[in-house]
């Protein structure tokens, strides 16, 4: 499964694609089963340069009933920095965030697709 992510142009915040709109919470992002749907969404996202910067697809997996990004880099993006638990999306601390946080230390990074480079 894949999720489409980017950073908001005006704020830089991490956002997730859902049917043409951008959600701020990872769990509100749309999950794509097929590569074709995902690629179509990516093309559509790239047509929104005033909304987001550098959209790209990430791999996600089901861990104990919770969808999480495969890559720990993406888990950090979905949560926030681990040195400031009150900063970033993890601040609200709901069940989805807790599930994501619980698996972050054991994550793998093979989910990087079109990694942003400066």
């Amino acid at each position: 499964m894949k999720v489409l992510t980017a950073n908001s142009l005006t704020t830089g915040e991490v956002v997730f694609w859902n049917a043409g709109r951008w959600a701020v919470a990872f769990n509100d992002g749309q999950r794509f089963d097929g590569d074709e749907d995902a690629a179509g969404a990516l093309t559509a996202a790239e047509d929104q340069p005033r909304m987001v910067v550098a959209p790209y697809l990430i791999d996600v997996e089901d861990m104990d009933g919770h969808w999480v990004p495969v890559a720990y880099r993406e888990r950090l993006r979905a949560l926030g920095p681990s040195n400031h638990p009150q900063h970033g999306k993890q601040a609200d601390g709901d069940a989805d965030v807790q599930a994501l946080a619980a698996v972050t230390s054991s994550a793998r990074s093979t989910g990087r697709i079109k990694l942003i480079r400066r």
């Binding site: 950073n7 142009l9 005006t10 704020t11 830089g12 915040e13 991490v14 340069p49 005033r50 910067v53 550098a54 890559a71 720990y72 880099r73 950090l76 993006r77 926030g80 920095p81 681990s82 040195n83 400031h84 900063h87 970033g88 994550a107 793998r108 990074s109 093979t110 942003i116 480079r117 400066r118």
Partner: protein, 552 residues
């Protein structure tokens, strides 16, 4: 300290206005991200994992209290109430919004701060000895020369598109506190036997994936000829440095592929063709800059302060602070006071807005209104009366800024790593926090003695891992965060690159591995040896055996 003149201020205002228009054109869709990105990077604005990051230059690590207060205000108003001081003596704000960036640059420009040349393939912020103007072991204030370099290199048309970024560091003291041999150009100012100021010029240092220590290309450069000689170095580099491969584009690769003698020969040949009068600093300009760094007036003080001595005798914690964080000043009765941004459990180099305000207040009250940023990610109050140290300490303690650990095992350098940075492979901050917590007992840390741990989250080495007595490099090993240990590095006058100890290990194993390294050192230590000395004497073998025997 140097205050921006009308020319400097006008340039900052113009630049800020220009960026405001560039950002507006990006937001309106008039220019694309590919067009905008180099423009925002020229103004220090990066897009990182969670937000934009603004890197603000602090030339030669010197801040006025007005500047520090403005940074605190920007951090509170536009960020999450803290700043991160870096190994380049810059400050990074990690939660910036693009829409706020023009206002922030305006607010910074009002106090002579900016983010120009904190990114891109240009001459970056010039760094210098953080104890400049305060230490007894210097022959001149190195900031006079660093400021001349700043003015020469700022928006220099010939050197704005170099093959790669370019960093210059200056010291005028015998003890190198600016890691000058890890720079593209390291400048060491000394006095010749006949009393003339003269630079030893070193070139080709750098860290990253191919670390080199800078090599001396000229033993004695008359100080007055500095700018034309820098011009010559930059011209040779600009012409011959590689532009085809980003990993081979730094001057260190050029110096080492040509050989230092040939590189020096080409520089001398280029230098001979430069019209010195057009480039070198006129005496009047040097005098103008020097006047800005006139030594402060220090009220005469007794060399020994009864107040300071009594406080040490009464409070063992204060005595420890005095041993670790208080250093001799050139004027009797004064001290240079290090403020550690490394309280165990905190993020190395982070200071909250409230802490910045406290430091600014203390600098105004006790340190002639000056604050320094050290590349070790700590702050410095350069001119404190010994008699005032107990009062300063009390205020620092209230602000959680009185950690007495300078140069000890918990005084860890760490880059932001994968918690923030798009380039990182692994996190650095949590590793630093875990080690600092393990060695949080200050008595034990002091018994272990001087030991620099330096952590980078990727091969770019912003955390100086090549220069750590213990260096830790985060790597991505089969998709997991792993850490490679190296030993024996040093940044000072005895600079040396650390050597890799063995296979990388998981982050959870690092505190135990550090513990093992420390135990091995203590078992082998001879009288007066620092960790680094023991490693140099015994070699890596005993440490390797101890760490990997445990790991097996």
């Amino acid at each position: 300290m140097y205050r921006y003149d009308d020319l400097d201020r006008q340039m900052l205002t113009d630049r800020s206005n220009e960026f405001r228009h560039q950002a507006a054109r990006r937001l309106s869709g008039e220019i694309t991200e590919d067009q905008f990105k180099p423009l925002r990077l020229m103004n220090g604005l990066y897009l990182q994992l969670h937000a934009y990051m603004l890197r603000v230059a602090i030339p030669f690590g010197t801040l006025s209290t007005a500047q520090l207060r403005r940074l605190a205000w920007v951090a509170t108003t536009y960020d999450k109430g803290y700043g991160h001081f870096t190994t380049r003596t810059n400050v990074q704000l990690h939660w910036i919004k693009l829409r706020d960036a023009p206002d922030i640059l305006d607010a910074l420009a009002e106090v002579g701060l900016h983010a120009i040349q904190t990114s891109g393939n240009c001459i970056r912020n010039v760094t210098a000895d953080p104890y400049a103007g305060a230490t007894a072991d210097e022959v001149d204030d190195p900031r006079v020369w660093a400021e001349a370099i700043r003015e020469w290199s700022t928006v220099h048309p010939e050197f704005s598109y170099l093959p790669r970024k370019f960093k210059i560091a200056v010291t005028a003291a015998e003890k190198d506190r600016a890691a000058i041999r890890s720079y593209d150009i390291g400048l060491h100012l000394r006095r010749t036997r006949d009393g003339e100021l003269s630079f030893e010029v070193m070139a080709g240092g750098g860290q990253g994936r191919t670390p080199y220590l800078a090599k001396t290309i000229r033993e004695h450069l008359p100080a007055s000829r500095l700018l034309s000689y820098l011009d010559a170095i930059l011209r040779v580099y600009n012409r011959a440095g590689r532009r085809d491969n980003i990993h081979k584009a730094r001057i260190k690769i050029l110096v080492n592929s040509l050989g230092v003698e040939e590189f020096a020969r080409q520089v001398e040949a280029e230098w001979a063709q430069i019209e010195a009068a057009e480039v070198d600093l006129p005496d009047t300009e040097l005098a103008r800059i020097r006047a800005a760094f006139q030594p402060q007036v220090f009220d005469p003080q007794p060399a020994v302060s009864p107040v300071f001595e009594a406080a040490k005798a009464a409070d063992p914690e204060f005595a420890r602070f005095a041993r670790r964080n208080v250093h001799p000043h050139k004027v009797p009765g004064y001290a240079i006071l290090d403020i550690s941004l490394k309280a165990p459990g905190e993020t190395p180099g982070d200071a909250s807005s409230a802490q910045m305000e406290t430091v600014a207040d203390l600098a105004d009250a006790y340190s002639q209104g000056e604050v320094r940023v050290n590349y070790t990610q700590n702050l410095v109050l350069p001119h404190v009366k010994l008699a005032d140290v107990p009062a300063v300490y009390a205020r620092l303690k209230e602000a959680r800024l009185a950690t007495a650990n300078i140069d000890l095992i918990t005084d860890i350098i760490a880059c932001p790593g994968l918690d923030y940075c798009t380039l990182a492979n692994a996190r650095a901050i949590p590793v630093a926090q875990a080690i600092a917590k393990r060695f949080a007992d200050p008595e034990r840390a002091e018994a272990i003695g001087e030991l620099g741990i330096k952590i980078s989250g990727c091969i770019n080495a912003c955390g100086h891992h090549h220069l750590g007595a213990i260096g830790i490099l985060g790597v991505d090993k089969k998709g997991e965060e792993y850490y490679q240990l190296s030993l024996g590095g040093s940044a000072g006058a005895d600079a040396e690159l650390a050597r890799i100890l063995g296979p990388a290990m998981s982050g959870q194993s690092i505190p135990d591995a550090i513990e093992t390294l420390v135990e091995t050192y203590l078992a082998h230590r001879q009288d007066g040896e620092r960790f680094l000395d023991t490693v140099r004497r015994t070699g890596l073998q005993p440490f390797k055996e101890a760490v990997y025997a445990v790991a097996d």
